[in-house]
């Protein structure tokens, strides 16, 4: 039997990246800066948003924020954010195979018709899942944030360098628990910087509000930054 070798040399994620570019064009057209918010489950993404987003539209400069909530099932996180009176769109990722472990460009694309892009300056996409995949599947975002809680171990950055290298901001959350834990937060920060020297690191407690102002300020600076590069 005759067999032919076919040279392919194609990034297997090209198809995803093509859709991510299409998303990006839509975001650019509406002048929306998009943030991909990632973490291990339970690190505190939703709590951080609950804390940080309130009243941003009334600040100077005003920033209108919307959220696209990835959830494996249900709408618990989206419901929690409904008190903020900002656009929140739910995106379920259950694919019948126990749920996806991340959002990909196509899932985000399928949700976009429901997202009122023209009513916002910043769209935050709360990703789902673990610490490897989300960094591999771009969704058309401008910036990636990783939330890392002090209950997770100081070695996380060394175990998941791909993810930490892909993020420009790492939010160390749950610092209110530090006094109860035998956790070396300086070592965590050193490990983050060892893997990604350019990362900005913030220490916050989404529970008590400690450090949240710095995160709010970072979000507020986003639209101006996008304008500068456009």
């Amino acid at each position: 039997m005759h067999r032919t070798k076919v040279r392919v040399v194609e990034d297997a994620l090209d198809a995803n990246n093509t859709i991510a570019s299409a998303n990006r064009s839509d975001f650019d057209r509406s002048n929306v800066t998009v943030v991909n918010l990632m973490s291990a489950p339970g690190a505190g993404k939703t709590t951080l948003l609950e804390r940080a987003l309130e009243g941003l539209a009334d600040e100077d400069p005003p920033v209108r924020v919307g959220v696209l909530e990835g959830d494996v099932q249900g709408s618990f996180d989206a419901d929690r954010l409904s008190v903020l009176h900002i656009p929140v769109v739910q995106l379920n990722t259950d694919n019948g195979f126990g749920g996806e472990c991340h959002l990909d460009a196509n899932m985000v694309r399928s949700a976009l018709p429901a997202v009122p892009l023209d009513d916002m300056d910043v769209l935050i996409v709360e990703n789902v899942g673990n610490l490897v995949c989300p960094a591999e599947f771009r969704i058309g975002e401008d910036a990636r944030i990783m939330v890392c809680s002090v209950t997770e171990g100081e070695d996380k950055p060394l175990k998941y360098p791909l993810m930490f290298r892909a993020c420009e901001l790492v939010v160390i959350n749950k610092v209110d628990l530090l006094e109860h834990l035998d956790f070396d937060v300086d070592r965590l920060e050193a490990n983050i910087l060892q893997v990604n020297h350019h990362a900005k690191v913030m220490r916050v407690s989404a529970k008590t509000g400690e450090g949240i102002d710095a995160f709010r300020a970072w979000l507020q600076a986003l639209p101006a930054r996008a304008g500068a590069t456009a």
């Binding site: 005759h2 032919t4 076919v6 472990c101 673990n130 591999e136 791909l162």
Partner: protein, 121 residues
């Protein structure tokens, strides 16, 4: 457990290039920094590839080491642990040179004419 989704991406890429022909062999080029677990990937490829042109294809993975380059002193070196730091200049100008690849390198397909030859006459 990103191997499941990565498998879907691989199968889609392979089948696109197979263009309807049966695939007998797949060669991937995967960088160390991707942290792909070979056995897990193979396991999911078999599941995702079932009932598609690449069902039953053998798999070969070219393992690409993680190498860094310092843009300051042009030094290049391989890393075994995730330390992105130049011994001379520190971390400021270090970039990944290889190790982030996730490519379908080549595939082997059964020729259509030959496939016809094996059909009963």
């Amino acid at each position: 457990m990103h191997e499941f989704d990565l498998s879907s991406a691989i199968v889609a890429t392979v089948n696109k290039h197979a263009d309807g022909r049966k695939v007998t062999h797949v060669t991937l080029r995967i960088g160390r920094l991707r942290q792909v677990v070979r056995d897990t990937l193979e396991f999911y490829l078999a599941i995702v590839g079932k009932d598609t042109p690449c069902e039953g294809a053998t798999l070969e993975i070219i393992d690409v080491p993680a190498t860094l380059v310092c843009k300051n002193c042009q030094n290049e070196w391989e890393i075994e642990i995730p330390a992105f730091i130049c011994a001379t200049c520190g971390p400021g100008a270090v970039e990944v040179k290889t190790g982030e690849e996730f490519m379908v390198e080549s595939i082997e397909v059964e020729d259509e004419e030959d496939a016809a030859c094996t059909a009963p006459r």
